[in-house]
């Protein structure tokens, strides 16, 4: 009897243990007392563990006297051409013309072999390192992915101060945790963030001066661009075209952080352009303003670009031209009121954001000089538009495979290839793909002496599949799926997707030369008066080309794929070139580039040895 009872007790014990195991294995998700963090998943995450175990500080202030005593950055200084400021790089585009052209002549094709590595700096974050550094007062201001901001000695790389912006874990970003740079005005440095805020810091100490929420990020918004300083305003646009937001860009008082105006890129009921949206589709119309614009002080006009209408690949519920998506807008910078617009891609169903970099140049036509804006648009055409009145002048393809449009009407309206329209069962290989021929996340450059624009080009086509979309605020609202087609790999390991730097003669719209790379090119370019073009490849190389011929003159392996915007500067007679390395595998894969190289940001600075 005792033995039987013992066996029964043993059976009960085992079954009880079994029940506990069942509860633990099947019922844990119902137990509100148990919290499982993403980092507790059992997989070692070096990004999380490495930082969490060592430091918790996120803001390092500088108490020392730093810089060369240059004083505050005035509005007049910001209005000077880059040609007068070889020692500075004050704006994302260099100066208001946005040409990203350095006046430095000491570095040239003749001595490029003497350009050697000088110093480096790690950002400590992964994701695309897309920055265009600012240089002022002997100090370099660098932003990284996930919104870190650093002030460095531009000569040596010594860190003066650092700010790591705290970010929520549920960011609404479609395409990686990028930040493309800061802005400078007075003694302030400004940065916009992935959680849709704008902040100002003392440029010497790094202390935070003000912070303002642009809008609630969890409604689908983010900010990845550098602000543009115009007079006493910081203008910043918002991202969210893949989330069905109603796009806008804002102007903030640099001193107080208060918003001065907001310009919605999609008209509301009763406003001009509203009729170009069927039904209530304008409410979720997208048209984000996620890149930086440019300003003409003489005309006192602010130019800003807009992105795709939402949903991206299904336009059935938003019939019409969908103004003012995929456009360039000219505004009164004091009021934010629109003066004129030009739309590049009416009723876009390919995700051809109009947000690529704008250049201000003079065009000679019929013995007349025209103040123009030129742009290598994401849709594959290189546009010339009169920047006084928005009149279309010309558009020619800068790509080799453009096929979504057959031609261009005299008005600048593209004649669409019907076969390129997204469908439920697509068969046509549409070029460019959704990333575009050039992507707005990087910037080209212009050498006015040669009359050439240097464009980083993606030759990677896609099938455009249309699906059924539904809008839930804060969720992706895309309406379809682009699938890369050029994925066949040859014996060298390269896919049939490729890239090139194309030099466009902006006076004629003709291609002057092309430099080819085995992978789509998604880094910015820098032009120099000395006759060079700097850029980077997704293979992880910094590259210098002869600006007249496209011949490769210099190459340096940085490691990670390059998505940054190189800059050049001179201090104490020394010439420096800075370029960041660090790709984002999501976009690298989408462009059919190499995704095997780990992410991670590293700044490299090169110096011309005398």
């Amino acid at each position: 009897m005792k033995a039987k009872r013992s066996k029964f007790e043993f059976l009960k014990l085992m079954l009880s243990v079994f029940a506990i195991i069942l509860l633990a294995s099947c019922g844990a998700e119902d137990d509100s007392s148990i919290t499982i963090n993403e980092s507790d998943s059992g997989l070692f995450d070096p990004n999380i563990v490495g930082e969490a175990l060592t430091i918790t500080t996120t803001h390092w202030i500088n108490n020392k006297s730093i810089g060369d005593g240059s004083g505050p950055v005035t509005t007049e200084l910001l209005s000077e051409p880059q040609s007068a400021n070889a020692e500075n790089w004050l704006q994302y585009g260099g100066d208001y013309s946005n040409l990203r052209h350095s006046p430095i002549t000491e570095l040239s094709p003749e001595n490029i072999d003497n350009l050697d590595f000088s110093w480096g700096f790690p950002t400590g974050t992964s994701g695309q390192f897309a920055v265009s550094p600012l240089i002022y007062d002997g100090i370099m201001y660098v932003t990284s992915s996930y919104n870190r901001l650093f002030a460095l000695d531009a000569r040596t790389g010594e860190m003066y101060w650092r700010y790591d912006h705290p970010l929520p874990s549920d960011l609404r970003i479609c395409c990686g945790p990028a930040n493309r740079g800061a802005a400078i005005h007075g003694d302030k440095i400004l940065m916009a963030t992935l959680d849709a805020k704008i902040l100002a810091f003392d440029r010497i100490s790094g202390e935070k001066l003000w912070e303002n929420e642009i809008i609630e990020y969890d409604r689908g918004f983010s900010a990845t661009s550098a602000p543009l300083i115009v007079k006493n305003l910081a203008v910043i646009g918002i991202g969210g075209g893949e989330f069905g937001v109603r796009g806008f860009f804002d102007a903030y008082d640099v001193d107080t952080g208060e918003r001065v105006w907001r310009h919605y890129t999609v008209p509301a009921e009763g406003e001009p352009g509203y009729e170009s949206w069927s039904g209530n589709s304008y409410e979720t119309g997208g048209a984000p303003a996620w890149t930086i614009g440019t300003y003409d002080p003489e005309l006192d006009l602010l130019y800003w670009t807009t992105g795709n209408p939402a949903p991206d690949w299904n336009g059935d519920a938003r019939l019409g031209d969908n103004l003012f998506s995929d456009s360039v807008l000219a505004l009164n910078p004091d009021t934010g009121e629109r003066e004129w617009y030009f739309q590049f891609t009416p009723h876009d169903v390919w995700d051809y954001d109009g947000n690529t970099h704008l250049f201000q140049v003079d065009i000679e036509q019929n013995n007349e000089t025209i103040k123009a804006i030129v742009q290598a648009n994401r849709n594959g055409f290189f546009y010339v538009v009169n920047r006084e009145n928005g009149e279309f002048i010309r558009a020619t393809s800068y790509m080799e495979q453009l096929n979504w449009a057959d031609s261009m009407e005299p008005s600048g309206r593209p004649v669409i290839n019907p076969a390129a329209m997204p469908s439920e069962e697509p068969t046509m290989r549409v070029c460019p793909g959704a990333l575009g021929g050039m992507n707005g996340s990087v910037s080209g450059s212009v050498n006015q002496s040669l009359g050439l624009a240097y464009i980083p080009v993606i030759e990677s086509c896609q099938l455009m599949q249309k699906g059924i979309s539904m809008f839930v605020e804060g969720q992706m609202f895309t309406g379809g799926l682009p699938t890369p087609t050029d994925v066949d790999v040859d014996e060298t390991g390269d896919s049939s997707s490729y890239g090139h730097i194309t030099a466009m003669d902006y006076q004629t719209g003709e291609v002057k030369w092309r430099y080819y790379d085995p992978q789509p090119m998604m880094a910015g370019t820098l032009s120099t008066e000395g006759g060079l073009v700097f850029t980077g490849s997704q293979t992880g190389h910094a590259i210098a080309l002869d600006s007249s011929t496209g011949e490769e003159l210099w190459r340096f392996k940085l490691g990670g794929g390059i998505r940054s915007q190189p800059v050049a500067y001179q201090l104490d007679g020394d010439t420096y070139v800075a370029i960041g390395s660090g790709n984002y595998q999501g976009i690298a894969g989408f462009s059919v580039a190499d995704v095997a190289i780990p992410e991670g940001g590293q700044l490299f600075v090169f110096k011309l040895e005398k």
Partner: protein, 124 residues
């Protein structure tokens, strides 16, 4: 009857029976749609238009959202768990809950699940 036996019968045994009963998925509404080509097609179009654009791709690409056509499910792999994940969402991620705000209500979500199931491998 000893107290331990009473506790075992009243508390432990029901847990075993209940949990064992749940181990087998009840027949989900996705099952019936899996044999209906039109329903699977609608599920595909909904998936393409709502889930796949920048997140859950049709092929295992390197993106920052989970690939759903394999056996590696992070938030539960049963039809009901998938249904709950989509309707409720995943906290602290950008996977918000869709509720049942699909054009044809929750039937559309079951058709999405049917599409996923018909294009997934057999998982043990």
């Amino acid at each position: 009857m000893r107290l331990s036996s009473v506790l075992f019968i009243s508390m432990v045994l029901p847990i075993i029976l209940t949990k064992c009963g749940e181990a087998k998925d009840p027949v989900s509404r996705a099952d019936s749609y899996m044999t209906d080509p039109e329903a699977v097609k609608r599920g595909r179009l909904l998936f393409v238009g709502t889930c796949a654009g920048y997140c859950h791709k049709l092929t295992p690409e390197r993106v920052d959202a989970l690939y759903l056509f394999d056996c590696d499910w992070k938030h539960g792999s049963s039809d009901q768990e998938i249904f709950n994940t989509v309707t409720i969402g995943v906290p602290n991620t950008r996977m918000l809950g869709f509720g049942t705000n699909f054009p044809e209500g929750e039937n559309d979500l079951w058709k999405i699940i049917a599409f996923i199931r018909t294009n997934s491998p057999q998982c043990s």
